[in-house]
Symmetry: C2
Subunit: 200 residues, 2 copies
């Protein structure tokens, strides 16, 4: 039994490879044999670890949404009382996630509809809570922003931050730190610009 120190458990290996493959070719586009092959076992051996292909996707998506929400809440609590700092921390956390787990980010808004009703509802609820967390903070930093506009702005900034999978992999970028800084500035600039509607 693989412990904490030596790499990943078989289950975790499978989830990681499945995430990569799902992100590359879509849930329906990848077969169980391929997922098995990616971890060195073949085909139906996966069923010793998961109830089915659907269960892998469900666990991935619920995990993503949960991680985002949990991390967001933690950051909000850490910088509580300082909305500017909370917003910066949320942006930073989301960027880390987008840069470090590109396949998961891709899955996150691409394969949600393939889930069983109950799982989909759960994921949507987690996503909604995450959005609301952002909306609240954004409205504290920019009080002039009405709630519908704030919500739209938050979705737009998510789109901005989640664009990392579309950027060519290696050399065309300013490096990880530079990309993170660029995205951070752009996100804050986008919110700032969204809020100037108060003057009109």
């Amino acid at each position: 039994m693989a412990t904490r120190t030596d790499a990943l458990t078989r289950r975790e290996q499978i989830l990681k490879e499945a995430a990569r493959l799902f992100a590359e070719r879509g849930f329906h586009g990848v077969g169980v044999d391929e997922i098995g092959a990616a971890v060195g076992i073949s085909g139906p051996g996966l069923y010793r670890h998961f109830a089915g292909k659907d269960a892998m996707l469900a666990e991935l998506l619920v995990g993503i949404s949960g991680q985002l929400l949990t991390g967001g809440k933690r950051r909000a609590a850490e910088a509580a009382g300082n909305p500017e700092a909370v917003l910066d921390s949320l942006v930073e956390g989301h960027i880390d996630f987008a840069l470090d787990d590109r396949p998961l980010i891709t899955l996150h808004d691409r394969e949600l509809d393939r889930l069983r009703d109950s799982d989909r509802k759960l994921v949507r609820q987690l996503q909604r809570q995450y959005v609301e967390l952002w909306v609240e903070v954004v409205r504290e930093v920019y009080p002039d922003l009405a709630e519908p506009a704030a919500r739209a702005a938050v979705h737009a900034v998510f789109g901005l931050l989640n664009s990392t999978p579309h950027m060519g992999r290696p050399g065309s970028l300013p490096g990880r730190a530079g990309t993170a800084a660029l995205l951070h500035r752009m996100a804050r600039g986008a919110f700032e610009a969204a809020a100037v509607s108060a003057s009109a």
Copy 2:
């Protein structure tokens, strides 16, 4: 034979419904019978109009990329000599597209991998040209922005503008005009913020 005035040709009906269904449930997630049913004919009747399911997706994606590029070139030519105006016009055109053809925007960066090699290459080439068009204009407006950063910024703004499908359909938005204006301000604000790296 349906002419320009009365609604859509059968082919166009099919493409429209196929786009909607592909966007909702993914290319592999929707069957030809469903597409047929959506236009009132059933299943294999589609093969009188298209060589196959793949051909529908190919025509949709090539069409999208082509429209975006053509429109972008036209706008660049119309406002030539005034980079600020060109950039605003590009942003406006992209927003119109994102708001009026949400299903197509969704397909655009979701199902590209399901194409035959030749079609995929064509679409990628059109997309690349479109990106380059933006990058050139952005670098004229913000000369301090290095090319890799400009390219990353363009992708990020595409992500921002293409976020419309994630916003709840009707009442939660500030209305079409308001949403368009909001997205426009945010896009410009994001570029502006991207460019302030020169001061650091």
